[in-house]
Amino acid sequence: MKLVRDTGLLAWRRAQQLLRNPVWLFVSLTVPLLYLALFTPLLKDLPAAPGLGGNVLDEFLPGILALLAFTSGANAGFGTLFELQAGVIERLRVTPASRLALLLGPLVTGMVSMFIFDLILLIVGIAFGFHVHVAGLLVLAVLLALFYLAMAAFSTAVALLTKEITGFAAIVNGINLPLMLLAGVLLPISLGPAWMGVLAHFNPLYYLVQASRALALNTFSGGAMWEAFAVLAPLCAISLAWATRVYRRAVA
């Protein structure tokens, strides 16, 4: 109860900040929109590519949603760094507020804004011919939330441990590109050689992308969805537990 209340208070605090300084909201939305506008047209002229059957947008948009969950989560630590340097984190840590709530508050707000962006992307997608399958998208939303939370908790913990932008950016950017390339967000991994496929299986984002493609077509069988749950649910739990522990101990 206290956890829910504290989380709500801190989530609302972050929401107010965002509403007062909305510039970066547009920045976060720009990247996925650019992918949609400037990358999808390229795929349209690749009809022979294996693994890209049917409507290009139906294949590509789900990957963009997964990518947005990834980048939103990875960037969560920037807010933490900023508040760490302003002493806000330390002030909150001396209150009796639940440590998990200190972590979850901003994450809940980040997740809500991610879903708002997802809706915007879907609406834009529909305008260009994306086929909506509601049940599949609802299940996908759960997976996106799990992945976002895992990534954002990780990013927050890294921010608390590195305490300054250089170390934090090195780690987050360092994992950013390899994870993205090895997830088949832009093009299916099946286009590449076998070793890439093997490596991809160590990448949690790969499971999310695979499941997002299946679920966008309302495909619940075939294992992609279950594999994603099996990977992302424990990953999320571990990441949250670790970040809470870091919050408890952080020497800010």
């Binding site: 206290k2 605090r13 107010q16 007062r20 002493g87 330390e90 020497v251």
Partner: protein, 326 residues
């Protein structure tokens, strides 16, 4: 009254680049309720580290601390309910208004909205925040922001308020203003524990002062006691340019039975510490006169806490003062 803070043999070590640094080495003290207790020392002396252990932000390596009747090591969550803490950075949310900051802070202590709203109203008056309470904190001046930080620290009516370098970065006028507000808190029964590297602050504000250097306490008492017991009154003598005049005066006075100690200051000044300055002056003059040393000027000066620090550590706090951190 009982002691609000009891610290016993606190120790804290940090590992830095493979070396172990002992930041706090066996610090013990008691703070009775209703006092303004100052923790004075140069930067890096271990003030903030001690403060962070008492406020649950750092684990205690060795020793025990009892704050507001609770053991910090075993009940940190309960301790947090009873203490307020204002860090050097303050930590107000810049994008929120002063009132919003205070409301959230109060609610994080579990109080309901109506209760917090009433308390915030009271604090806005107490700390002169009312006229800008609806503005975002980023528009505040240094003094305004600092008063808000203090208000954030006491919104839940804690038994003890910890202030870490509360006036660093404030101009003299705002500093005096904040001292006034902190004194008001004491009158309302709040115990205040503050760290500072400003001698004037310890002197003007604190009922009792503890001087820390290099992780260990070197002196403790009221500013008046410290100055009287450790240093005494200072008689400052100036001599002419003649060779050896200063050394001769020093020899004459150091031999006098009523002189506690002497130090040669800068530009031909001699500081001579005695128990009772006014009574010692005629005798000092007599001895210098009979030794036929030309004296330019003599004055009686109140000792400062810097004299205390100098007497205890051999260094001046002013020299080791500037900078930030720790």
């Amino acid at each position: 009254m009982s002691d609000v803070i009891e610290a016993r043999e606190l120790r804290k070590r940090f590992k830095s680049r493979g070396r172990v640094v002992e930041a706090v080495r066996g610090v013990s003290f008691n703070v009775p309720q209703g006092e303004i207790f100052g923790f004075l020392g140069p930067n890096g002396a271990g003030k903030t580290t001690t403060l962070r252990m008492l406020t649950t932000l750092l684990t205690i390596d060795e020793g025990e601390a009892n704050v507001a009747g609770l053991d910090v090591g075993s009940a940190p969550a309960k301790v947090r309910e009873r203490i307020g803490y204002v860090s050097q950075l303050g930590g107000a949310d810049n994008l929120a208004t002063g009132r919003e900051n205070l409301m959230l802070q109060g609610r994080l202590y579990g109080r309901d909205r109506a209760h917090v709203a009433a308390r915030v109203e009271e604090l806005l008056g107490l700390l002169d925040l009312a006229s800008f309470a609806e503005r975002q904190v980023k528009t505040y001046s240094g003094g305004q922001k600092r008063r808000l930080d203090v208000a954030l620290g006491i919104v839940h009516e804690p038994e003890v308020l910890f202030l870490d370098e509360p006036t660093t970065g404030l101009d003299p006028q705002n500093r005096a203003n904040l001292w006034q507000h902190v004194s008001t808190l004491r009158e309302r029964g709040v115990t205040v524990f503050l760290t500072t590297h400003y001698l004037e602050e310890a002197d003007a504000l604190c009922d009792r002062v503890m001087i820390i250097d290099d992780g260990a306490i070197v002196a403790e008492g009221s500013p008046r006691e410290l100055k009287r017991d450790i240093v005494g009154d200072a008689v400052v003598l100036r001599v002419g340019e003649e060779d050896g005049a200063l050394a001769r005066i020093n020899a004459v006075l150091a031999a006098a039975p009523f002189v506690r100690s002497t130090t040669q200051g800068e530009d031909g000044e001699l500081h001579c510490y005695v128990d009772d300055g006014p009574a010692a002056l005629p005798e000092i003059l007599r001895r210098i006169d009979s030794a036929k040393i030309p004296l330019r000027a003599i004055s009686l000066s109140e000792p400062t806490l810097d004299d205390v620090f100098l007497a205890k550590t051999g260094r001046s706090l002013r020299d080791s003062g500037a900078g930030s951190g720790a």
